[in-house]
Assembly symmetry: C2
Homo-oligomer: 255 residues x 2
């Protein structure tokens, strides 16, 4: 809103990597204390509002970085406006392509987001100097590739019902994992996405997403106490509905 020189939302050098909440999951999690000094010096934090564009498709990417908090969506567009989400990033996930100057997608904050960023050129130097940084980035990229392939199965072959079940299951797994709990009947899950965002994620329309929500609710699988909250009445049924792709009985509280 203010037309003065540089962007005002930079907060630099105040926080140290050592106390960082994503220290042991992010791209830097394999880095030694010595390596961390260099990262610490090069990093800068930046905050984004919900809806704010972080990078734009086809634009030169000046920086790369990790999501410290909040949720980021990656979108690809067709000229006529059709939109597909191609990635959903949470705390500790990495955004940006070293060795590639143009972004292949839009990245948009869908909640308030804090990022830990590096100038791309500088990060590439760090990457060349640090074995552990590169190793961790490789691992994370391989994981993302697996996830995006699982999502291709969903987009290409699942029904609307199965799609929504898979989505809710993914959210539930995340929250269960964060609290180190198994999923259990009655558990509450925070859903940070709007119907529109979910629709873009699943390759559906908002109306279809809404109808599937009400179906699952009327069948007693879910409760919807508020717009952002979902209660899983019957996680096992949800897993059955999702169609098993990434089914993993072990994360269900079975005892």
């Amino acid at each position: 809103m203010n037309a003065l020189a540089t962007p005002p939302d930079l907060t630099e050098g105040l926080d140290k990597c050592s106390g960082c909440p994503i220290r042991n999951r992010a791209v830097c999690s394999y880095s030694s204390p010595a390596e961390l000094v260099a990262l610490d010096a090069a990093k800068f934090y930046r905050d984004y509002e919900p809806g704010q564009e972080i990078v734009g498709e086809g634009q030169p990417t000046a920086f790369v970085g990790s999501v410290v908090s909040g949720v980021v969506a990656l979108y690809k567009l067709l000229e006529d406006g059709r939109r597909q989400m191609v990635g959903l990033l949470f705390a500790s996930d990495f955004i940006g392509r070293p060795m590639r100057s143009l972004a292949p997608f839009d990245a948009v904050a869908i909640t308030p987001v804090r990022m830990c960023q590096f100038k791309r050129s500088q990060f590439e130097v760090l990457l060349a100097e640090s074995r552990s940084l590169e190793r961790r980035l490789l691992e994370m990229t391989l994981d993302e590739l697996d996830a995006s392939r699982a999502w291709m199965l969903l987009l290409g072959r699942k029904t609307a019902r199965e799609k929504l079940a898979s989505f809710l299951l993914m959210l539930a797994r995340r929250t269960a994992a964060l609290g180190n709990n198994p999923m259990r009947p009655g558990m509450q899950v925070q859903n940070p996405l709007t119907r529109e965002t979910i629709a873009d994620f699943l390759g559906l329309t908002i109306e279809t997403v809404s109808r599937q929500f009400t179906n699952l609710k009327s069948e007693g699988v879910l409760d919807l106490p508020s717009r952002q909250d979902v209660i899983l009445r019957d996680p096992a049924e949800l897993m059955r509905l999702a169609g098993e792709d990434d089914l993993d009985e072990s994360d269900l509280a079975s005892a």
Copy 2:
């Protein structure tokens, strides 16, 4: 067919890396001659028939490796048999997940395939020892991730017509790139996939694929001289139809 001890189709140590057809594009392309000696010693070739399974989803993966020649499809399945292709690999592409013991998909040869393989455990050692190997693998993985995101847009949001156009365009780009030619009207493209394989790739049925082929043909965009060959009467129109995702005017012979 033969119940004797070990698989008979191993051909070992006969060829040297130096003369390898994928030497400068594969995962080893950044490796120095010195590093190549170790790779050379560890590698073994293996051939697959069309239709033969290379790895099975959920099975332990004993090996990783590069496609030397032929085409490999990666599939994911739902229990009821619905099937989605999640990757299509050509010469120099890499199969396998270092640091992961279970395969997240089926890999199937769809033409005669020769692979250059490594025991997974041994490859992980090589990867830990070789900076250039790891760097190249990271690059290739990032490229695959980009490709799979582009494919998510196709699966989630494109029409059958746009899907087929995108598929043909991808084939055309590949053959144009191999010959170092731009795409031009009248160019012939080899299509190694059956209608069924194409359908699994695009998230469609064989009937819909077939109908879209005949539509494009009757509109003068394509000729279909045989089952395996496609002639592009109007590549520019094909690009328009594909919807621009990976549109790159530069690869069209415009002059």
